[in-house]
């Protein structure tokens, strides 16, 4: 008993001393996830250290919080426990969830000057679609990506196709795919035409198809989905037809993780995957490869993806100001260029691409530009209130159609009814 009182006293003293010691500096805690391998965590740490060294009045504790899923779980739990971080990078699609949980505040309160407002306008509009709602800016784009089509130039040459030309339309993708699919006498496939991974979260790449068919999966307010739109049904039918009717893609659910490897091994001649894999493919593909925008149906199109900075509630005015300044610094061209080159994430501001570093990088590695150019056609990633649950319902529906358990129209209609049930209270 005495011992525990003593320990408490020691702890209390230690606590007050440390508070006193840092009283003159602003303390910030900042959670970040790492979704791609490689140097992401080191780069964030290095950038943070650089900022702290240049700004001795600010102390930033950058906390690596695991995957995106872990990070949002940690941020929500910490906030509920009364100890929220001041800043966190979390999936852009979790915006409505975080608003609903009443955990984040808009950046607008701290972006009052004309200069600040111009700064917000400097981000690519495609990225801001998932970052603003009700006229307020809740997220600042940071580690953002978009899916692109990778193709194996050698396989194209072997199939008698022009190795420098990627399919530009849905029909071309099928036509090229048929030429690229190699079967032996028993019907065993040694090389598929195309590979669109669908494990875990099939909605993301599927959304590419939906946008290309001019369908919008959810409204900007995040309270209504359009899963049963005939255009969505048509897009899903196309995805299924790739395996069942045209036989240019492996049937069933296709694993995300194994997709780059399948591409390197020549199991597939084309693949759809995130720009986050650019550096990986560049380092490991044993053949010449190309990167193109996703093919079009009615229009070109792709979803965006990845994480934004969020400003959490519960911090002092001073902390919030310091946090916003840090976000402005880390998304500035010099820092953003370092980040993009280290990871492959798409730099979210046009001015970053104008820096000498980025020009040198893209001159050497042109595919990096494809992702940027595709942003002109990109739309917001599917995001609603209770996002994970609504997206989960949609994922289940897609999986049931891809595996042939249900037909597209029925599954999507059921998913829409379930989503309506959840979202009606937010209208």
């Amino acid at each position: 008993m005495i011992k525990s009182t003593f320990l408490k006293a020691v702890a209390a003293t230690a606590l007050s001393v440390s508070t006193w010691a840092s009283a003159h500096a602003v303390d910030l805690q900042f959670y970040f996830p790492v979704a791609v391998g490689g140097k992401a965590a080191d780069t964030i740490q290095a950038l943070t250290d650089e900022y702290v060294a240049a700004n001795p009045d600010v102390k930033i504790d950058a906390v690596y919080a695991g995957s995106y899923q872990d990070t949002v779980a940690k941020a929500i739990t910490a906030s509920r426990g009364g100890n929220p971080p001041q800043l966190s990078v979390i999936l852009s699609v979790d915006m409505f969830t975080l608003i609903d949980e009443d955990l984040i505040q808009p950046f607008d309160n701290y972006l009052t000057t004309d200069e600040d407002k111009a700064w917000v306008d400097g981000f690519y509009p495609a990225f801001m679609e998932n970052s603003q709602t009700g006229g307020k800016t809740y997220g600042i784009p940071f580690q953002r990506s978009t899916p692109v089509l990778y193709w194996n130039k050698e396989a194209f040459k072997e199939a008698g196709l022009d190795p420098e030309v990627a399919p530009a339309t849905w029909d071309e993708m099928v036509e090229f795919g048929k030429k690229l699919t190699k079967k032996d006498a028993d019907g065993k496939v040694s090389q598929w035409g195309v590979r669109i991974p669908s494990s875990g979260f099939p909605y993301w790449l599927f959304q590419g198809l939906a946008i290309e068919n001019s369908a919008t999966l959810a409204n900007a307010e995040g309270n209504k989905t359009n899963f049963d739109d005939p255009k969505v049904v048509e897009a899903l039918q196309y995805l299924v037809d790739l395996s069942t009717k045209h036989e240019v893609m492996a049937p069933g659910i296709i694993e995300w993780g194994a997709t780059p490897k399948a591409f390197f091994e020549g199991q597939t001649a084309m693949m759809w995957t995130s720009t986050g894999n650019l550096t990986n493919v560049r380092d490991n593909a044993p053949f010449d490869f190309g990167v193109a925008m996703l093919p079009s149906k009615e229009t070109r199109g792709a979803p965006t993806g990845g994480g934004n900075f969020y400003l959490f509630k519960g911090a002092s005015d001073e902390q919030n100001k310091a946090a916003v300044e840090f976000v402005q610094w880390i998304t500035a061209p010099a820092q953003s260029a370092k980040w993009t080159i280290a990871t492959g994430y798409v730099a979210p501001r046009a001015e970053t691409w104008e820096t000498e570093t980025m020009k040198a990088y893209t001159a050497d590695f042109a595919p990096a530009l494809i992702a940027r150019d595709q942003l002109a056609f990109a739309k917001a990633e599917l995001s609603t209130y209770q996002n994970q649950r609504v997206t989960g319902i949609f994922n289940d529906a897609l999986a049931s159609v891809i595996t042939g358990k249900k037909d597209a129209a029925t599954a999507l209609k059921e998913a829409q009814a379930q989503a309506d049930g959840i979202l009606s209270e937010y209208r």
Binding site: S198, I253, Q388, D396, A399, T403
Partner: protein, 294 residues
């Protein structure tokens, strides 16, 4: 007299205290809180939790995913428990005999237990990969099978997960059987041999009954594991496709920490707790009659 009695009393409580604090903090209090929360709605930032009576339970009753994961869990239990127990007995008998390289074989059987399940799942993920995965290459070369999407087909996904679980568990159970086998007096087997009993009779009449306490222990563990071990699902299938390989605990995690519906997750947890206690009690009563303790 009175003083000693009191001191004994304090002593015993003090001795119990550390274990009790942990037991209450991490088992009893959470269980009770979960039970209470299951009658409340999920609190969201601007709307605090409110008492909704049995609404969460009604929802559970009408939730097709809940019934699907329950059915999956039943299938998973039926697939893993008898198979891993049978396999572990066979392995224990095999490495209990005198054979060359016995320690090496024992170690080989035990290795899966030592490896972290997440790491193991990543290795199996490669085995199952269509096209260039180990199984496709082996079966393709041996039988000329075409590529099979083990994890991506609802018909095979759960079975693929079961195989990994059995592989992981059997070695662990083998250790218990091995210890039990070595505790069986050799004289019993020798006496039976003199009577002219066959190997099968010896196993069935002597070894197996004497292993019963171990079988009880192992089977309770196996039952609990079949509800508890879900780590590999995160890596292998993420519960997909369309919840075909989702188990009850995985679904609870999903509802609680992906969908953030803590109220409903509490209700699902109560269902899990009830199920587990019913199973454990049932096993003790049912098996106890058939178990020979020394």
């Amino acid at each position: 007299m009175r003083v000693t009695f009191k001191r004994d009393w304090i002593h015993s409580w003090l001795l119990l205290l550390p274990a009790m604090v942990f037991l209450f903090a991490f088992t009893h209090i959470p269980a009770v809180t979960t039970f209470i929360n299951s009658f409340y709605s999920t609190p969201r930032g601007r709307r605090p939790a409110k008492f909704i009576g049995l609404e969460n339970y009604e929802r559970l009753w009408d939730d097709p995913v809940f019934w699907k994961v329950m059915f999956n869990n039943l299938w998973f239990a039926l697939g893993t428990i008898p198979l891993s127990i049978a396999l572990s007995i066979a392995m224990a008998l095999w490495v209990n005999d005198k054979l060359a390289g016995r320690s090496l074989v024992r170690m080989a059987y035990f290795t899966p237990t030592v490896l972290p399940l997440i790491a193991v799942a990543n290795i199996w993920l490669f085995f199952y990969t269509p096209g260039f995965g180990l199984f496709d290459q082996v079966f393709g070369a041996l039988f000329g099978w075409s590529s099979t999407n083990w994890l991506g087909d609802p018909a095979t996904a759960l079975n693929a997960v079961i195989v990994v679980t059995v592989w992981k568990e059997a070695g662990f159970f083998m250790i218990f059987y091995l210890a039990a086998l070595q505790a069986i007096p050799v004289s019993l087997v020798e006496a039976a041999r003199i009577e002219g009993a066959s190997r099968w009779t010896i196993f069935w009449r002597i070894t197996f009954p004497l292993l019963m306490p171990t079988t009880l222990f192992v089977s309770i563990n196996a039952v609990i594991n079949s509800f508890r071990l879900v780590d590999h699902i995160f890596i292998l299938t993420d519960g997909g496709p369309d919840n075909a390989s989702s188990l009850l605990l995985f679904y609870i995690y999903e509802v609680a920490f992906r969908f953030w519906e803590t109220g409903y997750a509490a209700t699902l947890t109560v269902a899990l707790l009830l199920l587990l206690s019913a199973l454990a009690i049932g096993q003790f009563f049912f098996f106890d009659r058939k178990v020979h303790y020394k």
